[in-house]
Symmetry: C2
Amino acid sequence: MNIHKFVMPEVIFGNGSIHQVGESCLRLGATNVFIVSDPGVMEAGWVDIVIQSCKQAGLKHTTFYDVTINPKDKEVEKGCEVYIQNECDSIIGVGGGSAIDAAKAIAILVTNGGRIHDYEGIDKIKNPLPPQVMVPTTAGSGSEVSQFSVIVDTVGQKKMTIISKSLIPDIAIIDPETLSTKSARLTASTGLDVLTHGIESYVSLAATPLTDVQAKNAISLVAEHLRPSVASQINREAKTNMAMASLQAGLAFSNAILGAVHAMSHAVGGKYPILHGDLNSILLPYVMEFNLLANPKKFADIALFLGIDIRGMSYMEAGKKAIEYVKNLAVDIGAPQRLSDIGLEKEEIQNMSLIALNDACMITNPRDITVEDIEEILRKEW
Amino acid sequence: MNIHKFVMPEVIFGNGSIHQVGESCLRLGATNVFIVSDPGVMEAGWVDIVIQSCKQAGLKHTTFYDVTINPKDKEVEKGCEVYIQNECDSIIGVGGGSAIDAAKAIAILVTNGGRIHDYEGIDKIKNPLPPQVMVPTTAGSGSEVSQFSVIVDTVGQKKMTIISKSLIPDIAIIDPETLSTKSARLTASTGLDVLTHGIESYVSLAATPLTDVQAKNAISLVAEHLRPSVASQINREAKTNMAMASLQAGLAFSNAILGAVHAMSHAVGGKYPILHGDLNSILLPYVMEFNLLANPKKFADIALFLGIDIRGMSYMEAGKKAIEYVKNLAVDIGAPQRLSDIGLEKEEIQNMSLIALNDACMITNPRDITVEDIEEILRKEW
């Protein structure tokens, strides 16, 4: 085993934990917080609770809602301006991966200057970031514990993956109650994102025993609780377990990185306003088929984690059962099935494949991959 | 599930990782480090490697070796003096739980003043501590990742348990190669300490899903790798897995706290110069017998983690098999079997029981316990 690192923020987990956000900022030395969210999360009432908690802790605050699905460079730059104008000294992100990734990117700019494009890639951030507290509301992105921020380059029409330990927030507050306002559609999409995080990090070239235990648990929790969570907005047990799955998958991929699914999904998501989870869920089984050869044993493990009885099967047979399971799960919860269904134009496939090949997530994909391989996978799923 | 927290340091794990200690201190802003260790670890050559790594990183250093098994209040006070005299600004602990606990306690005094006794209990530390990097060499204490420091009150002749998030080091560097200089005797004792951490945190009243996954893995790793690790100083696979077990058990108990074994072991260890792991291993099966009633399901899980085939058994039956396994493991690796063997005087039992009842670790023991219960357990094992 090589030398490896594992880093995570302080985690506060449980129903009602959102009320600890103000006190958590205070502990980090905040006096004037910048709250990044989006209009949907605001309407659901979660930002109001955050604001109230900040007020109770004696903190000033500024809110910023100009964040869209797959957050853009321009939104981040605007956020940075508003932060500086209001002399904020700390950041809270409240929402899905978009709000939290935007909050992290704003944190980079306010202490490091320049354009967000300057930080694309691994370890480009020089100065420490302001205190960051993240409150996820989707059980999906894992961004609240990860060293990733993914921002759309609106000119280049691609997603920039920024990876740095500085992007790990100081505190992640995970309150499963926030999941009760999520639609079944979004629950399905983000839940399949969690599964993708679990599976890609488990077979990643950078996986370690510490990431494996987290990935394993995340995969098992999704298999048991995603269907019930899509079926009911108020099933507390399902929400709590999906929140835990998202957290553990986040810890796994933050430290083991991801693979070809995310590389391809970043490429397509940079151009099309498609939910990240939808893209991942379509791509996942086909990339698993491609990657199976690279580590049959680990794919057989995945079948086991999914609850499949693999007794008497070879690793390859068990791995194929896992792929079948993932396809069926997506069907069961009504996730989109083909890239053409969600708007990808066929003539874009070549261009997308080139972009995917150069995404930072491709480095840890367990099987060597060429641009032709990527094209073939995209065509299969189109 | 209640709201719960999980906190851990950055972890660097792997053969050769000890050479990253200087650079790690540099990253934390250190310029002049205080290296706490003990004569045995120094002789084994690990401190020299740490010093060399610090020099390569351009850091000044001061060494301090006046730490004994079960570190004492006076040693900590002496260390604090030497740290201040030499104008150090950061701390490295290199060694077993004694060196690391002493390093943490010195860190408290240098920025908080007073006597170490002032900080006994939970959350008594006010000021931030200097940067702390810990390099364990025993695969036992888990102190390199925990929020605990246990120091002997030499006047009161008891161990003081200090618990605070500030005691979680900034970086833990876990190099399995350091285990190759450990005697079979010490490997057995510290390995049983790891098992105790895993089992006590798994059945703790403060256990959470995040601590359970760590405890589970730690228990399984000990069952598979402790015997081979005691059998051979150079079995790399066994050393690496025991280092991982120690880390995971440390993460579990730092966040889930412990129970009656540690409370009793702190009481006895405060008066007698006995290895902490020896005490724990004697006490563990008897406390398991006492606690079984509190959570038969979790004790049955432990049997499963230990590799026992529990099919067809009731939870109680499986739990009893786990207890039997623990007793046999201690016999296999030559650990002491009775408290009288390691020097406890019978007339001290009543006094020890009273001290144990008030130890901070007793709060999370899964079964209500009285001073009479503790006396009975100690008498059984005497």
